[in-house]
């Protein structure tokens, strides 16, 4: 069960976000995981499904 999701960006040396989103930080089954933007990854596929179903919103990166 995915309970929280937030975009991850690439950061510079001072932890300032630069460039595009590179992944998603999500809490899955109580464990925080970094999810790649790969449709073959089951967690990313589930995030896409839940977003499409309106049951999950991905928060902006910090």
């Amino acid at each position: 069960m995915i309970t929280q999701a937030k975009w991850i960006k690439q950061y510079d040396e001072n932890y300032v976000p630069v460039g595009d989103n590179t992944g998603i930080k999500a809490t899955i089954g109580g464990t925080e995981m970094s999810i790649p933007l790969d449709p073959a990854n089951r967690h990313y596929a589930e995030i896409l499904r839940q977003v499409a179903a309106g049951t999950l919103t991905i928060e902006d990166a910090d």
Binding site: I8, G23, D38
Partner: protein
């Protein structure tokens, strides 16, 4: 048929050759996530490698690796499931199972979805405190082609070997990619929405068993053990193919591996740029994995624990390698930490 003819047929079918088991870790020996019991909920969870369990009933059960095995068969381990909260009345939309998903690249040899689809035979050892009719269901990736097979557990708390042969499905869409080629469900309970008659291919969306399936979750304390799971091409169940544990572990690491295990990382800042370390995986993974990041300790330096995941971040991941950043809180400092990185690319 003469013995010679039987042998010739067996050799011709490929069943006399090694590496014939399409199921990975059928002897339940590899458990990289740990061996102790975890409670299964409304999300597929793994304990013994490659076997997931799922439960959306109002009951509950645990999943662990066990050392209880059938005598004289050479097994060391089994999967053990135990009901910890009973659900005496399974609602229409409720179901529970233990399953293995076989990758399409491995299952493609069965030719499902084509006129030449081959029969497959599933064999396994099972033991339960609850006797009755149980189901094994084979399904495609979309779960819109399913074959439910029934088997009977005759004696409580007694190991029994079961064999199920299923004619190949000549229609439907069966992936031959790195996606799911075949789902093998060991049903534990199933409500009416997800039931399908046994004995033929059907199109029920997400069928897990028939209406005859025993409600294994009906009594608190019920147990069910499984080991020696083997699926092979053809109509004959050959003896379980024991393989060396190193080979099984390597197969499992395509789907789950500990990339770093409390490994020291020395991260030096150079002219204002962070340095990331790149790690090659033990084995190439099926897909770009999800990562669990843990900073075990800080050896020296200042880590920006508010950045990323407790100061750690992934960059540039692929199926073979990734880079790990250690974010620092000072522009001219170096830092060293110990970190654990787990990669997961299950189907």
């Amino acid at each position: 048929m003469s013995k010679a003819a039987q042998l010739a047929a067996l050799i011709g079918s490929g069943q006399a050759q090694g590496n014939r088991n399409l199921v990975i870790n059928g002897a339940m020996q590899v458990a990289q996530r740990g061996t102790s019991a975890v409670t299964i909920a409304d999300a597929a969870q793994y304990r013994v490698d490659r076997f997931n369990a799922y439960d959306n009933t109002s009951g509950a059960f645990t999943y662990e690796q066990s050392t209880t095995t059938p005598s004289g068969e050479g097994f060391i381990n089994s999967t053990k499931l135990t009901v910890t909260s009973a659900d005496t009345s399974i609602a229409a939309g409720e179901y529970a199972y233990c399953a293995q998903y076989i990758e399409g690249t491995n299952f493609s040899q069965c030719g499902f979805g084509n006129s030449g689809a081959k029969s497959v035979t599933l064999s396994f050892f099972v033991r339960s405190s609850a006797t009755g009719t149980y189901c094994v269901t084979l399904a495609n990736s979309a779960s819109n082609r399913s074959f439910v097979s029934e088997y009977t557990i005759s004696s409580a708390n007694t190991w029994e070997k079961k064999t199920i042969t299923v004619a190949g499905d000549t229609t439907g869409t069966w992936l031959t990619t790195t996606g799911i080629g075949l789902k093998v469900f060991f049903c534990l309970a199933v409500g009416s929405t997800y039931q399908q008659s046994a004995g033929s291919w059907g199109t029920t969306s997400f069928a897990f068993g028939s209406s005859n399936q025993t409600n294994w979750l009906g009594t608190n304390g019920n147990t069910l053990y499984i080991t020696g799971v083997q699926m092979e091409i053809g109509d004959v169940a050959t003896p379980f193919e024991h393989e060396d544990v190193g080979t099984t572990l390597a197969k499992c690491q395509r789907y789950f591996q500990t990339i770093l295990n409390a490994t020291p990382l020395y991260n030096y800042r150079q002219t204002g740029n962070s340095v990331a370390e790149t790690f090659t995986y033990i084995n190439e993974m099926r897909a770009t994995p999800s990562f669990t990041l843990t900073r075990n300790s800080t050896i020296f330096g200042s880590v920006n624990t508010g950045a990323g995941t407790d100061g750690l971040g992934i960059y540039g991941a692929s199926t073979t390698a990734t880079a790990l950043f250690v974010y620092q809180s000072s522009t001219d400092a170096s830092a060293a930490v110990t970190a654990t990185v787990i990669g997961e690319a299950e189907l």
